[in-house]
């Protein structure tokens, strides 16, 4: 005989939550026009990045020195060219692929590691908890970007290593967040009831604890992608991330710096691209938090 305890995954509960979510989305969309615009901007950026190979763009790596540092609106180069005469629009679009992918992938890696460790640290007391929490304490004893730089120093400069470093540095935030939630859930009646009915640990974790973690983790992730894009761009700016000729927005900014007086667009455009995308991510993240976190609902 199977015994079921009313949990988050039950159809009735799910239906109720579904309609709450729909009402919530409607409310946020009405109240927060900015978030809606931001979501559209993000969608457009992702589409353009994904479709880059099929878009009518010039080759981002073709050097054309006679046409170097052309200003925006030059015929044939809508956003101008860089110090090697390469088309800036093409480089920005191809750079978007690298920057967006790096942001999403590092945030996702940090999230997966962080959530797993957070569940372990919150659910199992004793040495597991001690090890997990001391590890996060130690990682958080470093300034964020400094530790990432130190890890890249060890692994060697390059986009892959920069992404590994940022993911390592980023997971403790998720671990702390998730552990806090799991600690409070562990003592709740529905977990106790499930345990009394003979549910195993994996079943309790999967059916009763994991669903509760979804909304705080989604919110943290949506805000984290922007931070990770900034961090990867920062490492690339220092020369520790993407290596030439591949471009991401951070390395475009770094190489354009020397020409900023005569041709400010080579620095302004990639910086603006980072700024707009991260701003959009933050707006969407804030809106998601308003939507998913009952404490911030307007009464």
């Amino acid at each position: 005989m199977s015994v079921r305890v009313a949990g988050v995954g039950d159809p009735l509960v799910r239906a109720a939550e579904g309609s709450r979510l729909r009402r919530g989305i409607g409310r946020v969309a009405r109240r927060d026009r900015f978030a809606l615009v931001a979501a559209l901007v993000l969608l457009a950026a992702v589409l353009v990045a994904l479709l880059a190979p099929w878009l009518p763009l010039l080759d981002p790596d073709t050097v054309d020195t006679p046409n170097r540092l052309r200003p925006p609106l030059t015929p044939g180069h809508r956003l101008g060219t860089d110090e090697f005469g390469r088309d800036l629009l093409a480089r920005l679009v191809w750079g978007a692929r690298v920057s967006l992918l790096a942001g999403v992938a590092t945030a996702a890696a940090a999230m997966v590691i962080g959530v797993m460790l957070g569940i372990l640290g919150g659910f199992y007391t004793g040495w597991v908890e001690t090890v997990v929490m001391r590890l996060t304490d130690i990682l958080m004893a470093f300034p964020y970007i400094l530790l990432a730089i130190a890890i890249v120093a060890g692994l060697g400069p390059g986009l892959r290593n920069a992404m590994i470093a940022i993911a390592i540095v980023g997971f403790p935030i998720y671990t702390r967040l998730v552990r806090g939630v799991v600690l409070s859930l562990r003592e709740r009646e529905f977990v106790e009831a499930a345990r009394a009915l003979g549910a195993t640990d994996p079943l309790i974790l999967g059916r009763h604890i994991l669903p509760h973690l979804l909304s705080p983790v989604i919110v943290a992730f949506s805000l984290d992608v922007g931070a990770k894009i900034l961090a990867t761009a920062g490492l690339s700016f220092l020369g520790l991330g993407t290596q030439p000729p591949t471009a991401d927005w951070g390395s475009m900014l770094a190489t354009g710096r020397q020409f900023v007086v005569l041709s400010p667009h080579v620095v302004l455009l990639p910086g603006l691209a980072i700024f707009v995308i991260v701003l959009a991510l933050n707006l969407v993240g804030d809106a998601l938090r308003d939507l998913l976190d009952p404490r911030t609902h307007p009464r």
Binding site: P143, L146, I149, A153, L279
Partner: protein, 316 residues
Amino acid sequence: MRRYVVRRLLLLVPVLLGVSVIIFMVLHLAPGDPAEIMLGSQATQADLERLRAELGLTEPLYVQYVHWLGLVARGDLGRSIWMKRPVLAEVLGRFKATLVLTGAALVLSTVGGLALGIVSAIRPNSPLDRLSAMASLFGASMPVFWLGIVLMVIFALWLGWLPASGMFAPYGGGTVMDLLAHLALPAFTLAAASITIIARLTRSTMLETLGQDYIRTARAKGVVERAVVLRHGLKNALIPIVTVVGVQAGYLLGGAVLTETVFAWPGVGTLMVQGILARDFPLVQGCVLVVALSFVVINLIVDLLYAWLDPRIRYE
């Protein structure tokens, strides 16, 4: 209070050991022989042997770690391969410049953040409050190195009001005014995001405090509004603000790396980046160690200050 201080100091031991392990491992993260990585493919066998012996690379890893920790405890961080000088003296010399920059940014962000936050709290939803809310969103989304370059272009290159880079003018520099002029752009760049964070927190805690009964009582007694806001309001709102200022101090110390690179500020950050690109591991380890230790000390001071301000924490 004394028991709290002792407990807090004891908690430092595992953290410091962990930090030391991570910094030590920096040298051994990459696959392959660290001596070959540092000296490159052009190195002779004799050079490699000498570096291996100097760094003790022939020993097992844990022996190397204990040996290294012993040296570090005695203040010996090894010799820089690139500069051929002792690391500690080099790093400490540069660290002063980083402290000047971080300190200036911290003062700027605390004073600016408190002022902006208090004004926003006194007049919520005023144009200034909305502007500050927008600035905080922008501050969190703007790459600090980009902001630095934009400010440099506007104020140094176009308007010519401030010097573009460095800490002192190459000729006739060295005065306090010279330092302040060079400090203005990097300090503001570094502080920008923190100002908005401190302002938002000050606003929300002040709004909460200004809604309390004792504030109404003070007003009813006829206390001047300025005293109500500053003495009764701000003083009670300070505890969370102190914490966030402490957190920002650590953040500024780490964020200084990027700002220093933009403005060619001669601090630990620029030294570390140069060290990484030159594959000079002892130098990089020294830089990370000094900054991480200061970060740990700042966190300690913030915790102690917090416990001193709020007695409830000590008795937990």
